[in-house]
Amino acid sequence: MTGAIGIGAGVIGTAVTNRNPILRWSYFTEQTESIVEALVQHLQLTLSAVGIGLIISGALAAIAMKYQWTVGPITGTTAFLYTIPSVAFFGVLVPYTGNSAITAIIPLVCFTLLILVTNILDGFRAVPVAVKDAADGMGLGTSRRVLTVELPIAMPYIINGLRIATVTTVGLVTVAAIIGYGGLGRLILDGLRRAFWTPLTIGAGLSILLALLLDLMFYWLGNAVTPWTRRKRT
């Protein structure tokens, strides 16, 4: 991390010129390594944040379902975490966890919790009472009922939560560039600092593409695991 964060620290010239076009295609071949590195870091940060978030949310949702009185405190806390401004959250952790991946991951994870907890709870609430009653009445037993009946029915909601959490996190990772762990966001910030538009365009363009791709991927995944929702009686 460099000392100066201000824009234009090493200005080439801010105007869009032939020397500094919005996108110079040769940059892809010259800087393949750093672009791939940024992309990989972006994916790593996104997936680990959502992965950790899912584990924590799963546990929180389980607690909320088991003990009804915890629903309020859990949604309240996760809602509070969700509204912490990202710049403030990343910044405020630096003194404690330094410029490390941890500093980036903690806020990213916290931002996923509300989305995931809400959707997991919605998913399990969507299981019709009659279906649970029938499962009990047939002697499926609690764990079998939860795993083979309730979870599959809740799955579209959970996957949709993952979808929202993931694309949101892709966007937030770019902001983590301000503490040096931004994946593609570093290309954006770097480009802004040097007023060098090619890396900015590549970083921004790829992060948008990544978000849209992951969005589509989860859409397909959601359809793939819920074949029963596609065919309806007409």
């Binding site: 991390m1 770019t174 921004a204 948008i208």
Partner: protein
């Protein structure tokens, strides 16, 4: 445009590193000076207010109309989905060179447009859902006594949907305020500058002070909108208690983040195909 003009708003808030967080925040000079906290606050508030106002104008009437006509359900769902997928910082970054080429400078246009793109989809969505879920009985009754379609929308659907619409506006507005600080990293200032400068100068206290300011403004925005919500809530609705669906959106799902699952999910007969989801950055 010379480099100097571009760099002008970048004057850093140089603060001695041993200044304590509260020492900084409670120093009147810091507030009224130039650059000063009050000035930055005003910068941020004005930008956010403009974004919120424009977003309401763009999103609410259109969504209300389309929901009343039951039109563009699928298109709305997709627009909202894609809107959610676009990273605000990336969009703003992309717009910077475009803005420079057009001679509009580093800011505020890129951040303004990016924030508006962030805000319109959730406002559109909450309005759409709110109007659509108004009791069909009330709408039928209104038509039965001879209301025109316009009257049905403005005198029945909108008042009944107002609570939910305002919740959507509040949530989206808090998001705008919480996201605006990235402006400081896009060549602008505003309240985000203290975090930026603190990071740049490795001044932890300045970072924390900046973070506190941002968080307070975001929290304050939420409170302000909650107060407005209370004021505009129609008396009848207040007395009746919250409508069922609205209640769900407000309590179990305070930010309207619940997903729609896949369209037509099991047991989701009452669910809207439009994704109930707020955006972030």
């Amino acid at each position: 445009m010379s480099a100097a003009t571009v760099l002008a708003p970048l004057a850093q808030a140089a603060v001695p590193r041993d200044t304590g967080v509260f020492e900084f925040l409670l120093d009147g000079q810091r507030w009224t000076g130039s650059p000063g906290i009050l000035g930055d606050l005003l910068d941020t508030v004005l930008l956010c207010a403009a974004v919120i106002a424009l977003s309401i104008v763009l999103a609410v009437p259109l969504a209300a109309y389309l929901a009343h006509e039951r039109k563009a359900q699928l298109a709305s769902a997709w627009v909202v989905n894609i809107g959610r997928a676009i990273p605000t910082f990336a969009i703003a970054g992309l717009l910077v060179p475009v803005s420079l080429r057009g001679g509009y400078g580093f800011e505020p246009w890129p951040i303004f447009i990016a924030l508006t793109l962030l805000t319109v989809p959730p406002m559109f969505l909450s309005t759409y859902v709110a109007v659509k879920q108004v009791s069909p009985g009330a709408v039928d009754a209104a038509r039965a006594v001879g209301y025109t379609e316009r009257d049905v929308l403005t005198k029945v659907e909108l008042p009944l949907a107002m609570t939910v619409i305002f919740t959507g506006i509040r949530v989206a507005s808090v998001q705008v305020v919480a996201t605006e600080p990235i402006r400081a990293f896009l060549g602008g200032d505003g309240l985000g500058r203290y975090v930026r400068d603190g990071l740049g100068q490795r001044n932890q206290n300045l970072v924390i002070a900046g973070a506190i300011l941002i968080a307070l403004l975001a929290g304050g925005t939420g409170l302000l909108f909650t107060a407005i919500e209370r004021l505009v809530k129609p008396v009848g609705v207040r007395r009746l208690g919250r409508p069922k669906r609205a209640g769900r959106l407000q309590s179990a799902d305070p930010l309207g983040l619940a997903g729609e699952g896949t369209e037509g999910t099991a047991g989701s007969a009452d669910r809207d195909p439009v994704v109930a989801a707020a955006d972030r950055r």
